[in-house]
Amino acid sequence: MAVVRFVAELNPEPCTGCKLCDLVCPSGAISMVARRAVVEPSSCIGCGRCVDRCPEDIMWMTERAEPLVCTVHPDEVDRDAVAALLAKAGIDPSVSVCVCTLTPASEIAAAVVKGAATLDEVSAMTGMRSGCGIYCVAPALRILEASGADMSPPRGHRWYPCTVSLWDVSDDARARYADAFIDEDRAAFDPLGQYGPLVHVRTTR
């Protein structure tokens, strides 16, 4: 759960429509209307990245009258479906996917089971990526991938499909990097041996 206290605002008059704010928005809260940025407050998770990114310095964060609470409660969805999804992704339900909001993997998976089909939608529903915006991304993408979501990268460079995990390392790679503790870490992080590689459909350009 994330309690979002701030929201992005801007002075649209000097906006040049460069889209840089849009590209770094983690929750799809910014759109371009008539070549000017528009913020949708109900989707803004208050990360402030757009304010820092704006080359015109025409954006700022302002405190919300009431905080926006972003969460998906486990009771809202089928718990067995959440467990099955995380098992397929090879991610323990209890680990904090987002270490800024302390959002556990179970809540990310619950958002996907509830209907989130993109990284933006997962972020908007749970508030993950409202902090550093970085370390939570691969587990969330992997959960989406395990759900069968379309992993084609969106236009621009919002995100790329990069979800390689400990469970995916091939025997050849394991042999090449024999001192990388692959087997040892698999045993440490999956003592019951329940996780395996995710079958990927990826392209290498």
């Binding site: 402030g48 302390l102 902090g131 550093c132 970085i134 370390y135 993408l141 995916d168 503790f181 992080f189």
Partner: protein, 466 residues
């Protein structure tokens, strides 16, 4: 009365919009002193600089000397070359030594190859304006004839086929015919990288998209994660552009030289062996601190501020031996099954006083104020922390104080400790109060013996370096 005398001033740091207006340093307080790290551990080599601006000529000379034997034959006069520099280097001893190495690399490449298209690429973390600040503060625009660009994890990526699968680097880092890995060997988060192929880390962090960084942090263990930067470095794409590495070598005493060659694996072996002997001793010495208050007092994120060359994050996690590779997970590693979050709780850390430091801006201290009381000096800093989305809960628990003296007094009283250690960016010495100085000096000889006789041989053996 201190037996070490008045405290030495830390290196000047780069002003930044990501931190508060500069304040007087804690080292200026009459209760502070400085403990030389070579007094604690006499085996440490004398440095060529602890960051004094007057020493940059030594760094320049050392860089030129190290580059003499480097093969630059891949670089033709009509080629383009990116010198890849990373942000944490500019947090070492005020950043001047690293900046001087970077500038000298350019000069030597031009002299040796005739190549004029030598560009600087400044890899930063989250602050989009940080690269401009670095460029201006260190005079890089002039030194590189305007060929300077920043790059960060949110910039356009380039897909790279590796032995473990496709991964994404930042395109701008590799938009030249060749690149030079201009690195520094600060071990920083020893609990995370565990000195396993640390010299390669930039390839999955500084030069990488955020998805790749996330894979490194969140989808591998902190031992097995060492495969990622190596797989990227060894990829055909990276190798097709790689020329050589030049590394600013450090110990807790300061800059000890420059290591340069095209064989990054060889550099890494030298760095790892040296670091285990020096930073390993410092880490174990910090583990001997039973109770203390820490003060943040520098121009970077508090987590990455140094005391005696060791970052605050190591103090936070030092209750585990980060270098013992027989232990799968040590304090500080975040993704641990069965634990909602594994942020460290070091019970010896009785309080944190923030005199000056960058706010979170991407560095989460989410649970720290719940376990170690935090005291923020001044309303300006308090406002910055309140608005920091990375640490939304921090100011719910932190206390605002009107002076650093008041913060230290409250923290030591509440924490029932008389020891204070200051993370102010210092190498060569630790800024602290007399009680801490006496404690460190008393414990260092036994730490020196235990590391030298017992731990170091094991650490080296575990890494194939014995």
């Amino acid at each position: 009365m201190s037996h070490h005398g008045a405290a030495l001033m830390p290196p000047a740091f780069m002003p930044s919009e990501y931190g508060p207006a500069p304040r007087p340093h804690v080292a200026g307080l009459p209760t502070m002193t400085s403990v030389p790290v070579r007094e604690l551990f006499p085996s440490f080599d004398a440095p060529i600089t602890e960051g004094d601006p007057a020493d940059v000529d030594r760094v320049r000379a050392a860089t030129r000397s190290a580059l003499v034997s480097v093969d630059m034959s891949k670089i033709g006069p009509d080629d383009s070359v990116n010198v890849l520099a990373s942000e944490h280097g500019f947090g070492l001893m005020g950043g001047l030594p690293y900046a001087e190495m970077v500038k000298t690399i350019r000069e030597v490449v031009i002299e040796r190859t005739g190549c004029r298209d030598v560009r600087l690429r400044l890899a930063i973390y989250r602050g989009f304006k940080e690269a401009d600040e670095v460029r201006d503060h260190f005079g890089f625009a002039e030194a590189f004839e305007g060929k300077v660009k920043g790059l960060g994890p949110f910039d356009r990526g380039v897909e790279v086929a590796t032995a473990i699968g496709p991964m994404w680097l930042v395109n701008r880092a590799f938009d030249a015919d060749h690149f030079i890995h201009a690195y520094y060997d600060d071990p920083r988060e020893m609990y995370f990288n565990r000195l396993l192929y640390k010299s390669f880390k930039s390839f999955c962090m500084s030069y990488a998209r955020f998805e790749t960084r996330s894979v490194y942090h969140s989808l591998f263990g902190n031992r097995s994660g060492s495969i990622i930067p190596r797989a990227l470095f060894d990829s055909d794409f990276v190798q097709s552009k790689y020329t050589f590495s030049s590394v600013l070598r450090t110990s807790p005493a300061g800059v000890i030289g420059i290591d340069a060659t095209d064989d990054l694996y060889a550099i890494d072996r030298r760095i790892t062996a040296g670091h285990l002997a020096t930073y390993g001793r410092m880490q174990r010495l910090f583990a001997e601190i039973d109770d203390c208050v820490a003060v943040w007092d520098g121009g970077r994120w508090g987590y990455y501020l140094h005391a005696g060359g060791v970052i605050f994050g190591v103090l936070l996690t030092n209750h585990h031996d980060s270098f013992d590779l027989d232990v799968p997970v040590v304090a500080g590693f975040m993704q641990v099954p069965g634990a909602a979050v594994n942020f460290s709780r070091n019970k010896a850390l009785r309080g944190i006083v923030v005199n000056q430091a960058w706010v979170g801006a991407g560095i989460p201290y989410v649970t720290m104020p719940f376990t170690s009381p935090m005291y923020i000096v001044g309303d300006e800093q308090a406002r910055l922390w309140r608005e920091d989305p990375t640490n939304p809960l921090l100011m719910d628990r932190a206390t605002v104080v009107d002076s650093v003296e008041s913060g230290i007094a409250q923290a030591t009283t509440r924490g029932k400790t008389d020891k204070v250690i200051v993370f102010d960016g210092s190498y060569g010495h630790i800024t602290c109060n007399e009680a801490m100085a006496e404690h460190l000096c008393a414990r260092a000889p036994e730490v020196d013996r235990v590391v030298g006789d017992e731990l170091l041989p094991r650490w080296l053996r575990q890494r194939g370096l014995a």
